[in-house]
Amino acid sequence: MSADVSATPPAGVASRRAADVTTRLLGTSRRRVVLILALVAVAIFFSVANDDQFQIVNVTMIYAIAVLGLNVLSGYAGQISLGIAFFMGIGAYTATWLGGTPPTSPRAPVGLGLPFWIWLPAAGIVAALLGALIGPTALRLKGFYLGIVSLALVVIGVQIFKNAAFLTGGNSGRGMLPPAFGDTPINQQNDLFGIALSAGQQFFLVIAPILALAALFVANVMRTRAGRAFQAVRDHEVGAAIMGVNLFEAKMGAFILSSFLAGISGALFASYNVHVDPNTWDLTLSIAFVAAIIIGGIASVWGSLLGAIFVFALPKVLDVYSLVPATGIAGLPSGDVNTVIYGLLIIVFLLFEPAGFVGLIRRGRLLALRMSERNRKGGEPTPAAAGADPGGDAEIERTRLTAGSDA
């Protein structure tokens, strides 16, 4: 939600100062406190969590990177895409090509065995380059046309991945190496600087900073000229063009950034699972990502993270802690129970809260603010009076600006 400050601050020195404070990432003391609390929570989790919990958190963080990517393209720039699975696949196979085991038999898929810090950025870059290559064709098309083309991309992609056996290992997939510090791969217990770290902890140390960087990057890009151009294109193409936004450049920018993040996510996914199956990158995966941005919150960084938790972590949590009986509910296996839940959530959120989970939180905060306002003044304050108070709390100002924004 911190990335939603798209509306121009109203005139007036006081409110301009308030807007300045809130557009900065850590502008208010409240945010600093929240950040510190969050870091403490992460540190506690890191030291006490078991392997199952790390498994859930690590995989969710990997997916969250791609959810961020889709949110850039669909949420901020408003371009309908079902193609995210394809770009994740591209990232995964770039990673396996550069970082996979060098082949020992002539039929084994290629791999150069290069270190982590080469294949990870390369995966993002190759996916982004492919995005740049496909973009000009795809982005000529508007709305659902782009949706259908991206669907074709995924279908064709799965076919390619299944058949390019020299790289992908064909139908049964291929292996991939985990990142390694020196000679020791991180999917086993290691001593780092005298501290024994489990595989889950080490992966967490690799993935969490990447996710944090990606989130910070997206949040910041959306405050720049480029990010505001994305949102202008989404809200009104003609209006954006009149204000001097280059529509093609803006859409391409969003498309490339989105592909880059998807590529990084795909590479981490391959490496974390030490195996890549070509059938992973199908339409179902893309739809899960779409569900994630709708449920979490469209055009919101926090929404992306919440969406990833909802769609990718919650099912695992239910599984691991057997909250859904292993036999399922009403004859549904537990995996399908999750599908029903997110299918329903897509519909319910679209109908009743288009801003997603983040929108719910925003509403809750607005309600709390009004209640406290009412208690203080004893009167019946209108929403406008609560929000337009120029000298008031910066948080009120920001909430007013974003609470009404649809999409």
Binding site: G78, L141, A152, V155, L283, L332, V340, G343, L350, L351
Partner: protein, 310 residues
């Protein structure tokens, strides 16, 4: 040559099924501007209901078909009335995602209700019987597919051309505001278009199941091939949906028929499509056709060309 006619016929039969699904897409799109991603799963549900009606509940085929149509139509109408109607004025993106939500729900419902059960296709005739004409094997199923599609297209044509409701739907498709101004209930038109699309999808689902000699949860994905069909034909053209469906069906079957055997001579080498592109290339051939169409003629063969300056 007999081989060519054989797969050409298979292509027409497959094309008829795609045309039925494509018609559903087009009718909904024309009346309300919504692309219905759930069309494939409506077809899936319809196919399961028909098969289950005959094999599980031991109903007469036509009764089973009637019940299947009634249920899918009820679902489609309820979705249009209670979900889509609330989305008027919202971005196309949200509307499209809403249909994806329905798609997910229907697919899971089918898996939940009929787990691991493979029903034989139900039909009032034998789906495997056939006869030979000049070396070409023609199955009864192919003939019925073609005949029924032809009848449905003619009926739809007559409906849109001569009936009060058909004309109202065309008017609403042309200009919603003008249609409202002359007293057409546009909401009812939208509901009606969803009902027609669901009914056609069920019939298409029955034929697809009969064609593949069984129902399975993958039918909905096969029906997605109707997307290339509508893009090829022009997304707002009913005639285009039929022609597009037929062309896509024929292209797909020809690719399937020749990819393993036909030798291509290129750069002094001889190879088949399968050698170079791997097996089941036919599954993606329709999508490649679609990409080419989108590049050179995005409004399709029969679509209305939109002039946009941005």
């Amino acid at each position: 040559m007999a081989f060519f006619f054989q797969i050409f016929l298979a292509g027409i039969a497959a094309g008829c099924i795609y045309a039925l699904v494509a018609l559903g897409f087009t009718i909904i799109f024309k009346s309300s501007g919504v692309i219905n991603f759930a069309q494939g799963e409506l077809l899936l549900l319809g196919a399961y209901l028909v098969s289950a009606g005959v094999s599980q509940w031991h109903l007469n085929f036509f009764l089973a078909l009637f019940i299947a149509i009634a249920i899918t139509v009820a679902i489609a109408v309820a979705f249009e009335r209670f979900a889509l109607r609330r989305m008027i004025g919202r971005p196309a993106f949200s509307v499209l995602m809403l249909t994806i939500g329905l798609d997910t729900l229907l697919l899971t419902a089918v898996i939940a209700i009929w787990p691991d059960v493979l029903y034989a296709p139900a039909a009032p005739y034998s789906t495997t019987a056939g006869f030979d004409v000049g070396g070409v094997h023609i199955t009864i199923n192919d003939i019925w597919t073609i005949i029924v599609t032809g009848i449905l297209c003619a009926a739809l044509y007559a409906f849109f051309r001569y009936t009060r409701y058909g004309l109202a739907m065309r008017a609403a498709a042309l200009d919603q505001e003008a249609a409202l101004a002359v007293g057409i209930n546009v909401g009812l038109v939208n509901t009606f278009s969803w009902a027609i699309a669901a009914a056609i999808a069920t019939i298409g689902g029955f034929f697809l199941a009969a064609h593949l000699s069984g129902v399975n949860p993958g039918l909905g994905v096969i029906a997605l091939v109707a997307f290339p069909a509508i893009i090829l034909g022009g997304i707002d053209s009913v005639l285009g949906a039929v022609v597009g469906g037929l062309i896509i069906g024929i292209v797909q079957q020809l690719t399937a028929g020749y990819e393993n055997t036909a030798l291509i001579h290129l750069f002094g080498q001889s190879f088949t499509l399968t050698d170079k592109l791997g097996p089941s290339f036919d599954a993606i051939a329709p999508y490649l056709v679609m990409l080419v169409v989108l590049l050179i003629r995005p409004y399709g063969l029969f679509g209305k060309r939109k002039v946009e300056r941005i």
